[in-house]
Amino acid sequence: MQKKHSRMMLAAAGIVVAALATTGCATGAAPADSGEKVTVTFWQQQMEDFQQEWYKKNVDAYNASQDKIEVKLEVVPADVWPQKLATAQASGTAPDITTINYGKIGEGVPNGEYLALDEVLPAASLDDLKPNIREFVTIDGKAYAYPVNVEASKLLYYRTDLVKAAGLDPNSPPKTWDDLIVWAKALTQGNVQGIAEAANATDLAWSTWGLQWNACDHTAIDDDWAEGLATDPCFQELANFYRTLYQDNLMPQSPKTGYSDPAPYINGEVAMMDNGSWAFASLKADAPDVLANTAVAAFPSMSGAPSETTATLGGWALAIDSKTKYAQQAGDFVNWLAADGTERMVDYFTISNFARFTARTSVEEALKGVKGADDPIVQTISNDVVSFAKHEPAYPFDISMAIGTAIETAMKTDTDLGAAFQTADDSINDVIAKQSLAGANPFK
């Protein structure tokens, strides 16, 4: 027995030693201020090809321009981003810099994930931001991410040739939801349907934020994040609009793609499309012949009054991990890439076909003279939509999903809308209770 016991102890000791040894060889990283070359990791969420090209080009240029900091770029697809990032955070190997959606700032900052940039970026860089967009990244007076672009989430794209053939006037696009339904009915002919729209709960959850503001003057919960507001009848009017579009067969019943993919419109399966400003870039790059017959307008509002919110402003920024060992170096790269000078950002907006919009006043000035920036579609988006678009909600996505599910219920079943939104409201209040959201709005 003693021999067996000591053999087991030896085995246990062996395992412990092996475990310690492997954790010991984790990093051989250089300390931050030793003067040695420092490697900073940068994860970019995969987007259109031209974005990957721009980031790679500039990372290589930065690495070549100095020899103190080397930035390692890694492109991560969007559908594995949450899992990959969480795994990296759990094992302490989170990237120093990441691209981040504005919506994630409200969640990440209270959790302590991001570094306040006021210490690592010059004040002039932060002051250059447009005030309304600076608010997207500022919590308690500190900026937690540096904006790269903003995009409008909802626009109405329509085929001028098909509109003329249906006897409608392409120069006066629909202004109200009822007008849009009239247009969609007239344009649904043969194999072509009126409009491509969001058709599942997830897409409905975020693509209707702007219309929620439009119909209700608020979103699904109050400013304090203390109670759900889904039983407000204005939501039912919004749901009725979608119900008509779907049940009257004015939109594809079985969409092949999600809301943000313009493929059905490009393929001529639909005459109109509800999509964000990024679709304009896809059209310009992949389907210039379709673009030649396309006009863009602000999405119709409930009442039809001009200058109303129907879209939210989303977009991308760069954030630095709060546990980074190289805060100054990461800040230096972020500043060089997005905040310093205007050439790189002008290049970015040029190659994205001006379908994205800048958050910096100086870049906006510099873009004025650039060829292509005066495209009438770009001007429409900039003047009629971006100026009135609201910030994306910062509350957990589960709440938006409750509204999205209620709208989907309206579209795909004949359930009474009052009941559907009561279910949504109960769901929202449940989320508020479980996630202790009352008073937790970081942007209040």
Partner: protein
Amino acid sequence: MPLAQQQVLEAAVIARGRKRKRKLREDVPKHLRANRTGYLLIAPMVIILAVFVIWPLLNSFYMSAFEISFYKEPKFVGLQFYLYVLTSAEFWKSIGVGLYYAVLVVPTGMLLALFIATFIKSLSKRAASFLKVTVYLPAVVSSVIASQLFIFIYQDHGVANWLLSLINSGPINWLNDPTTALPSVALPGIWLGFGITTLIMLAGLLDIPDSYYESAQLDGAGYFQRMFYITIPLLKNVLLYLLVTGFTLAIQMLDLPLLMTGGGPLGSTTTPNLYIFNAFRDRTPYATSYSLTASLLLFVVIGAVSLLLFRLIRSDKAVDA
């Protein structure tokens, strides 16, 4: 065998047994005992299991009592998340969807496999091997490719609706109607899985002696009588294995609903794994702990149902010829 001979044989067996027992207890020298070799041989597997399965499982149960954050101190909350998951209507709905999916896929797959396997058994060698390869082909098709294929089949103007139009039946909104969505997703599930089931069923069938069928045929038994009274009882072990593994895999289906419907109209194709996957979307401490706890509870549910299946299908040892 004559009685005397039998008795001598029995006595010899008993004596040998006693000798064997003595040998085990005292006579084998310590340095020849097989114990150490045995332990050394299973050690790599045990260590790997311990490091990659048992330790993480125990650690997960431990961590599920905290609100996990990678940037702040985890907050101890006890069994609160278990309560959150168990009181969540969506979690139970996803379990229901998983069970419904398993009920759609497993029996259908097994029935199909049984008929095809009995058919293959009756073929000549070349035809049989050709059919075996054909039947197994869907199993090597990636579920990602299969889901894309079926999305196109189920389109508004796709093959499925075209076939319906041939019999003048209206187009069906396969993937976007809450009632038809899950059966539509179950179809590729059956298609992908029945190849392996068929081959295992075939192996079990080949174990049944032909003499049983011959004597049954001589007694005048028809096809279905032979199936019910010979084939199925003798395949009980194989059927139990296929039922339990089929069910366990079916309830954990993630790829098909994720790619085809994203959780489906109104959560009608949100299987438990997909529910957990979606719950992780937010990456807040709440979402992280919630999805961990939901995974552990799913483990408990699957274990419970598997146990139930074993009890229900009390399988006796196979009767030898």
